[in-house]
């Protein structure tokens, strides 16, 4: 029992130390930011453009089911005019940022870990070192920056799609016209709902890209090691997203 506890604590400390070390090295490599645009654009394409279909699919259904369920809950004691406001707040503050981040954690977090892990075990990262190319600057930094940039953009896209899907379902299923739906959003719109959600998404983007990079960059042990790194990246990102969601929720909307 004591051994298990000691192992757990030492693993957590090792993880914290490793992630902090990688973060510090990434910040240091910002000195060479002039060399980053090429790899950064490539990663933004991977992170952003290529994730559009899955984010679209997730958010449209999230928006639609949110509309149906909020309508079901408020039907007996509140006017349906509030439906648009309810959906928008829910999607902007919580569902948009969290679901987008979880989907991206599954897609890109795993992708980063698998790609960097494979590069580690096939000595491609060593090859970069031998060519006097800083692998942190060349591989890790563009991925982290693209996560921080693209997850908020995808979140805005997800919010827009979810609200559009909700408006459609509200019209077709709940029989609420579009004007009333969008007027409800306008009437109760508070900017903090949107930027609070976007602040969350910046942190989520950092978590996904950093955890994927950390587990991939330090992967060892061949194909098994890469598989393990990929799983750990997705699991740890997902848990940290939920933990950070609570912390930021309290910080941003707690008062």
């Amino acid at each position: 029992m004591l051994d298990a506890l000691i192992n757990f604590v030492s693993e957590v400390l090792e993880l914290l130390g490793g992630v902090s070390d990688l973060t510090v090295k990434s910040i240091r490599s910002l000195r060479d930011i002039k060399k980053i645009p090429g790899p950064l654009l490539e990663q933004m394409n991977n992170f952003g453009v290529n994730s559009v279909p899955i984010v679209l699919f997730t958010s449209v259904f999230t928006g639609m089911v949110t509309a149906v369920q909020i309508a079901y809950q408020i039907r007996d004691y509140a006017p349906l005019d509030l439906l648009g406001a309810g959906v928008a707040k829910m999607v902007m503050m919580e569902l948009g940022p969290v679901l987008t981040a979880l989907v991206i954690a599954g897609r890109m977090g795993a992708g980063i870990a698998a790609e960097l892990g494979t590069m580690r075990v096939t000595e491609q990262i060593d090859a970069l070192e031998c060519m006097a190319i800083d692998p942190i600057r060349y591989l890790v930094l563009p991925r982290i920056l693209s996560g921080i940039i693209m997850v908020p953009i995808l979140t805005v896209f997800a919010i827009t799609v979810a609200i559009t899907g909700a408006a459609f379902v509200s019209n077709v299923v709940v029989d609420l016209d579009y004007t009333t739906f969008f007027q409800g959003i306008k009437l109760y719109f508070v900017p903090k709902d949107l930027y609070g959600g976007l602040i969350k998404s910046i942190f989520f983007g950092l978590i996904v890209s950093l955890m994927g990079s950390y587990y991939g960059y330090y992967a060892k042990g061949g194909a098994t090691g890469v598989g393990k790194a990929t799983t750990q990246a997705v699991v740890s990102s997902s848990l940290l997203i939920l933990l950070m969601d609570y912390v930021l929720g309290v910080f941003l909307f707690g008062k």
Partner: protein
């Protein structure tokens, strides 16, 4: 000149290098011979600073690379071209970009890069493969792209990690010819890690035999048949040379 002075390295419970000392003079090709798992690749990685010894020094052109800062280490690394055992080509890049990468990162203009990439590829007889991806290459071609990438920066030292491992004898011999051609044509200093004695005899000037983390003999290749160490006798016997 590369001087390795009394380096020790422990990986996990095993002391992989136990006091290795070796001097590689300019213009020489030194083969480090040994069975698998004897620490040959670990030793090679110490020469280019990919690994740091627990104790001892690696001195390249008078600079102890075990004590320099990362920026200086990168400067020193530009003196080296490293050919990896499994080529370590970047899967998502074409042959051209794989070879060009060190030059792109060093900030050369595109005309110079293209000229030098084509020259490096022609040295390894791979003209016309610029647009292929690593997945479209054979094992021997991948090795040669790896050699071209190591050559493109015009390094002073070339390090080869098992250049013929995993290749059939015909292709392996072609790679040996390639290395020999580069040695004679470019007059570069080279270190070749190998477990293939015939290959070592063909391409090197000197042979160091590494066994259990120790260099047990370091001789000119002509002296090999006089070596009495049982490990070397086994190598000679297994290679059909005694």
């Amino acid at each position: 000149m590369i001087e390795i002075r009394d380096i020790h390295k422990r990986l996990g419970d095993k002391e992989v290098l136990r006091g290795i000392s070796l001097t590689i003079n300019e213009g020489e090709t030194v083969a480090i011979l040994g069975r698998s798992g004897m620490g040959k690749s670990v030793l090679l990685k110490h020469i280019v600073g990919l690994m740091k010894p627990d104790s001892g020094q690696v001195i390249v052109d008078g600079v102890d690379i075990t004590r320099v800062k990362r920026k200086k280490l990168f400067e020193i690394r530009r003196l080296f071209g490293f050919v990896f055992q499994n080529s370590a080509l970047f899967d998502s890049f074409t042959v051209w970009k794989n070879v060009a990468l060190p030059l792109i990162e060093a900030g050369y203009d595109i005309e110079t890069i293209d000229m030098r990439v084509k020259k490096a590829l022609s040295m390894v007889n791979l003209e016309g493969t610029e647009d292929l991806y690593p997945a479209e290459l054979s094992g021997g071609m991948m090795k040669r792209v790896g050699i071209a990438r190591a050559l493109v920066g015009d390094p002073k030292y070339l390090l080869y990690d098992e250049p013929t491992a995993g290749l059939d004898p015909v292709i392996a011999d072609r790679i040996n010819d390639q290395i020999l051609y580069l040695k004679e044509y470019l007059k570069k200093t080279a270190v070749v890690v190998t477990h293939d004695l015939r290959s070592a005899l063909k391409i090197s000037d000197k042979i160091a035999l590494l066994t259990d983390g120790v260099i047990v003999t370091f001789i000119r290749k002509e002296e090999i048949f006089q070596v009495e160490h049982p490990e070397m006798r086994q190598f000679l016997k297994a290679s059909g040379l005694s």
